[in-house]
């Protein structure tokens, strides 16, 4: 059965809503409109009273989710674009992420926050960012980044089951990607990366939509008999250093590819962890390909230069191979 990324989100939410009455959906335009990207289409009709169209109040949407989780429900809230995560930040950092710790486990916050990252569609500087880096800095939350339709259900179920606040980061350019769902994992544990292509000359570490680009490039180099390993992190917080370290020891050459900004990015954190934990297994400095540290311009000619393009990724990989 072939499904799009958006359809899998919808179908998984449908199954979970049917199983557990304490689950409800809350966000802007998720009900009547079916979600900005169609990921919740039809759910309001099926579950009246449990799919709620909110006024535009991201801070209070998040707080409402936190309070409802505190009081025994399992909220799945949606923030429409990752650029707007900024408006939720105080509630995530100073409320959601501290309650379980300060209460010594009495008040877990089983909240799922769905949000799409990603540029490349010309939506402009305030609608195109992948702001996972500031979130990675928050103790006590988890961040999941499904890279393909086949991973959505497994990661979403795990996120819903998890008793901690989980940021479920979707991607605008992935919603309409189709895949055969046969054999897709029903449950994918949070915090476990996947080697999506085995290799031994260099390792590409990526997550979210860029995994697809990395696979394409790695398969292209395979034609030249260059064996590239590709890791799909699947979760960026907590980081699966075990899988990363094994690959560092195997290939000694690492390139990190992600759509966040370069400075202080997730890539920087991964680099720091590799240097701390398996520096002596490296054969070359770690490379990273990130979005340039600029506000994202709108027109394609410029946007494509800011966000990692396949050309730029391939060039950096080849440079790494020559180190």
């Amino acid at each position: 059965m072939i499904k799009t990324y958006a359809q899998v989100i919808k179908d998984t939410l449908d199954e979970e809503l049917a199983k557990d009455q304490t689950i409800f959906l809350f966000g802007e335009d998720i009900g009547v409109y079916g979600g900005c990207f169609g990921a919740t289409k039809g759910l309001l009709e099926k579950y009246p009273g449990r799919v709620i169209d909110s006024p535009m109040s991201e801070q209070t949407i998040t707080g409402l989710g936190i309070g409802a989780a505190l009081n025994g429900l399992k909220p799945i809230i949606e923030i429409m674009f990752m650029d707007f995560i900024t408006l939720t930040y105080d509630q995530l950092l100073n409320h959601a992420s501290v309650f379980n710790y300060l209460s010594n486990g009495q008040t877990p916050i089983p909240l799922v926050l769905r949000i799409p990252a990603g540029g490349g569609r010309g939506y402009g500087a305030t609608h195109s960012k992948s702001l996972w880096s500031p979130l990675m800095n928050i103790p006590g939350i988890k961040i999941v980044t499904p890279s393909c339709p086949r991973d959505v259900a497994g990661l979403l179920r795990a996120s819903i089951e998890d008793k901690n606040p989980v940021i479920f980061v979707e991607h605008k350019s992935l919603y309409q990607i189709k895949e055969e769902m046969d054999g897709a994992e029903e449950f994918i544990p949070i915090g476990k990366a996947k080697i999506v292509k085995q290799g031994n000359t260099a390792t590409m570490i990526s997550f979210s939509k860029m995994v697809r680009d990395c696979l394409e490039i790695a398969n292209k180099l395979e034609q030249e008999n260059i064996s590239i390993e590709v890791i799909d992190l699947r979760t960026i917080k907590p980081l699966d250093m075990e899988t990363i370290q094994t690959s560092v020891e195997k290939t000694g050459k690492i390139i990190i590819v992600e759509e966040g900004f370069s400075t202080s990015g997730v890539s920087a954190e991964i680099m720091a962890r590799i240097i701390e934990e398996c520096f002596y297994s490296l054969n070359a400095p770690i490379k990273r390909v990130c979005t340039k540290d600029i506000p994202l311009p709108c027109c394609p000619a410029m946007e494509n230069k800011a966000i990692p393009s396949k050309e730029r990724i391939e060039a950096e990989l080849r440079a790494l191979l020559n180190e």
Binding site: I52, T60, L64, G67, N94, N100, L102, Q106
Partner: protein, 320 residues
């Protein structure tokens, strides 16, 4: 209205606050504290109409909110003294006391609990309407005059009305957001802001505890019917914003006006003069002394409790 019970509860809170102030000077409290002396009657009267299942969210100035909701005094003091026998094992401190069992949650971000209280109220209504747990529990969100200029607090008022939630917002307007007078920070009277959102609101001024009692009873009854309400209670804090503040920015005449009508004095007058009550000065003095003795005893027990080395720094960052 059981005035004697209310009076005693207020005295307990005041005794704890005074004791904590003394402990600070003895160097036994790590961190800061924001005392609610002068404002205690507000949560005490509100709590007269709350059950254990009703939830209360609280602020940095929340000691009175906690004790009025019957949180255990010893565990509360222990929390402020950083002991492992405190409500949060010393991890929360003055501004972050919480008790799931008592449905009490304080946090240090000004106004930050307003959206959370909205969520708590939402869950109460949802659980009832979905027949998960039949209830008519409410959420009470305490707020200060300072918090009423934060955008997310105003968002919360709107959300409560739009979703028809069982939530009561109680604004303790003590005229100062830290050192800044309400005349400089607010464009209108505070309760009128709630009215502008379409919320039923009331004003209580001059520490009028009897008016608060009447309004609290009516409003809480109606809040249980999924109608949000707002009460602005004008009052005055006797001490500074926090422990080091000398109140140099306050007008002396204003202070005198409010110290003269401290709720404790007003209640004592009622207890002594009213035909139904008729307590003597001596009797009230004795009640006060008994309470202070009890609080002293509890406090010394906590002070003398010695923790062994703490090894739980990393526990509960995540919930397994």
């Amino acid at each position: 209205m059981d005035l004697l019970r209310i009076y005693k509860k207020i005295l307990i809170i005041r005794a704890v606050e005074n004791k904590l102030d003394e402990l600070f000077k003895r160097g036994l409290v790590h961190g800061t504290a924001h005392f609610c002396i002068g404002q205690e009657f507000i949560p005490v009267i509100i709590s007269e109409y709350l059950t254990k299942e009703d939830s209360v969210t609280s602020t940095h100035r929340g000691h009175g909110h906690a004790l009025a909701k019957n949180l255990d005094i010893k565990k509360f003091i222990a929390e402020l003294l950083g002991k492992s026998i405190g409500f949060n094992k010393g991890k929360g401190g003055s501004q972050h006391v919480s008790s799931k069992e008592d449905n009490f949650f304080a946090n240090g971000i000004t106004g930050g609990m307003a959206p959370v209280a909205v969520g708590i109220a939402f869950a109460n209504k949802y659980k009832n309407s979905m027949n998960i747990t039949v209830n008519n529990n409410i959420a009470v969100a305490y707020l200060g005059d300072g918090s009423m200029t934060e955008g997310y607090v105003l968002e919360s008022l709107n959300m409560a009305i739009v979703l028809k939630l069982p939530i009561l917002f109680v604004c303790e307007n003590n005229f100062y957001a830290m050192s800044t007078h309400v005349n400089k920070t607010h464009s209108t009277e505070i309760y009128k802001k709630a009215e502008a959102f379409g919320m039923k609101a009331a004003l209580v001024d001059d520490n009028d505890y009897q008016k608060l009692n009447t309004i609290a009873e009516e409003f809480i009854t109606n809040t249980r019917k999924n109608i949000p309400h707002f009460i602005e209670v004008r009052t005055y804090r006797h001490k500074g914003h926090s422990k080091n503040d000398l109140n140099l920015y306050r007008d002396k005449q204003e202070e005198k006006y409010w110290f003269d009508r401290d709720a404790v004095l007003l209640i004592e007058k009622e207890l002594k003069n009213n035909n139904n009550n008729n307590y003597t000065e001596e009797q009230l003095k004795q009640i006060k002394e008994e309470i202070e003795t009890e609080i002293n005893k509890i406090t010394e027990e906590v002070v003398n409790f010695q923790d062994t080395e703490r090894t739980d720094l990393f526990e509960h960052v995540y919930h397994e």
